[in-house]
Amino acid sequence: MQILDVNTESTPAVLEQAVNTLLSGGLIIFPTETTYGAGVDATNPEAVQKLLTFKSRREGKPLSIAVSGQEMAEKYVELNDQAKILYRQFLPGPVTVVSNVVTGSVAPGVASEFGTLGVRIPEYQLVLDMVKMLGKPITATSANGSGKPRPYSVETIFKHLSDKQASLVDLVIDAGTLPSNPPSTVIDTTLSTPVTVRSGKIAVDQADNNDHNTLVSTSEDDTLSLAGKRCLMHWGDITEKGLIIGLNGPLGVGKTVFAKGVAKFLGINEKITSPTYSYIQEYDFKRHDTTGKLYHLDMWKVDSKEAFERLELAELMKPGNIVVVEWFDQVTLWLTELNNQAKLGFISIDIKQDGNNRIFKIYD
């Protein structure tokens, strides 16, 4: 193992040595604007294996890579709009943006088992130059063993390494004690359709047809009663077939308020909170002589047919039941398909905000 002190060695000499070590499959410890990192050529399978042995007990945690700029990043990950905005806003800097990996572009074990990969562009010139010279990304995991203190100095790193781990290190670039900046913040862009795109969906739907009613609500109470009245109109559907109510509209527009109105109409006294984390909330109701269940669904995160099928919604679609679906446009296709068999009554509602008013376009 060799140690190069950046304060005494010339930068070109350090860079050359580092790049040569990386090219020959070596493991280097290098400074960044957050902590010391452990780096190998992310495209070299043996080098990556060596790094995984060095980190030990990773339990399947994915690594991340450091690149020199967005152009390089795009060879290894697919950047969606959300990711591109984040690159522009935060990189280079202490943020790791997770995207879907370009298959086969990095060595096994670098991307997660789900095919996602975190990318950093460190705000640290030496590392940027090193990666640029190498022409390939390096792994950018912190230089401590799993579960050990964050590495801000070369001394702390080696204090917590076993002899075996230490023997795997080929080169250390020593920049002294780094300022104790926290590790980079990880932002995962693989799950979310950008909100900006989502809210745009409503705007596109401008063409006024006669297939819907437009109602305006000026207050929360107004919305509650509007929801109740709609249920009353469809009471026959509810008792005979069951009813699906699909709700669309951006975050904070009042989809859950509408759901509360449905619950109030059904005489449900429990507080209706949004099912963001649970996907489905279930409530029993009894109105007049009809008993049934209200299912309150949030489909924001359901973005594939496989995920949709896991919810086993067919079980809920029965006479007497009301299924209120927030973020309905995420699942419209699949749910309509299911309903071709179940044949429940069906309403879809687009909610828009206009000043303090809410505009409901109801298709029923």
């Binding site: 959300q82 905005i85 979310s192 909100v195 900006t196 975050l251 949004s274 963001t276 984390y277 995160k301």
Partner: protein
């Protein structure tokens, strides 16, 4: 009252947890995280959660027993979370607890998950060099402590009249505090879950950069509401030209202002509450309880309440693990339960505090 080690299980949400406790002491507290497993679905997927709990539960319980260094013969009862939580997930824990209870002939104690969060502040680490056999099993006398439970799924003010006797004084009418942070984070393009990113970014921003409204100032109750803050954030973003045009610092400031607004709402209602209710001490529990800004703001609010709180020291769980969903707190909560020991009970996804 249980005078000996309790094996506790919690499968209320996405993590499988098992612990061994005695009185207030936590002998072991194991959390098998499913976070990685859930990532492709962006959160807890009920059917996936159930499957993973099934795979994790036996090894998690075994590890908790091993770490605590107790034998089944030493265990005096099995405690398990009955609710609130995700129905299919709760089911797995309850079924397994019932199996264990009948196999080893132990009483079975159903525990309310929120009671667990409330009493998590009473938990103590096991003193080193002391055998669990020498530890006291008595619980402290509590009178009129106020618990503030803040997590992804809950935001509540609960008065502990005495251990086992609770009164919910206020709670959220729509989103929980953590959920609001998450949703505004989504609007800011911060991925999912965005709550933790907001918390990180808030450290770098100006909390007064954007002044959010203070919700429910005209209602007399101690209930909270976060839907207005969400709407405000969305309008504000649009007015600023959309998230795309914001610079790095603009996002830090938005994150800090959001977090401040979410916590300020809690502080406002808490200070009103402290003006009228007799409170001996304020406790903090739940996933967001680990947030340093929240703790600082609570301490300030207690200080400003001018002696209304008998003991002004804010009580928080001794470790971050106890803020998360964990079985350690379930064991501590089970210690005090004298009634309701029962071998046949069902999951209650929306169980209320008694």
């Amino acid at each position: 009252m249980i005078r000996g080690p309790i094996l506790a299980i919690d499968t209320s949400c996405d993590d499988t947890s098992a612990a061994v406790t005695i009185g207030r002491y936590v002998l072991s507290n194991v959390i098998a995280s499913q976070t990685e497993l859930h990532r492709p679905y962006g959160g807890v997927f009920p059917t996936v959660a159930k499957q993973a709990h099934r795979e994790n539960i036996a090894p998690t319980v075994d590890l908790a027993m091993k770490k605590a260094r107790v034998k089944w013969a030493d265990i005096k009862a099995v405690a398990v979370t009955q609710g609130p939580g995700l129905a299919p997930a709760l089911e797995v824990g309850i079924e397994y607890a019932q199996e264990l209870a009948s196999q080893y002939q132990k009483p079975l104690i159903p525990v309310n998950h929120i009671e667990g969060h409330i009493l998590s502040v009473l938990a103590l680490p096991k003193p080193q060099r002391k055998s669990w056999r020498d530890l006291s099993t008595t619980m402290p006398k509590i009178k009129n402590a106020l618990s503030v439970v803040v997590s992804g799924g809950h935001t509540e003010f609960v008065l502990i009249e005495k251990l086992g006797k609770y009164k919910v004084l206020g709670q959220t009418l729509d989103d929980a505090a953590g959920e609001c942070l998450d949703k505004i984070g989504r609007m800011l393009n911060l991925g999912y879950p965005a709550g933790p990113v907001i918390e990180e970014f808030a450290k770098l921003g100006d909390p007064k950069a954007i002044i959010f409204p203070l919700p429910l100032t005209t209602t007399k109750t101690y209930d909270l509401s976060y839907s207005g803050l969400k709407t405000f954030a969305r309008n504000k973003l649009e007015e600023m030209g959309g998230v795309e045009v914001l610079k790095k610092q603009g996002i830090y400031d938005f994150a800090a202002s959001t977090q401040y607004a979410v916590f300020r709402h809690i502080m406002y209602k808490l200070s009103k509450l402290l003006e009228t209710e007799n409170v001996s001490q304020v406790w903090l529990g739940g996933g967001v309880a680990a947030n340093a800004t929240l703790r600082r703001m609570l301490r300030e609010t207690i200080r400003n309440s001018k002696g209304q709180v008998t003991n002004p020291k804010l009580l928080v769980p001794y470790t971050k693990k106890l803020c998360m969903d964990n079985a350690g707190m379930i064991g501590v909560a089970a210690t005090e339960i004298t009634t309701a020991i029962n071998t046949s009970f069902e999951r209650k996804p929306r169980l209320k505090l008694a």
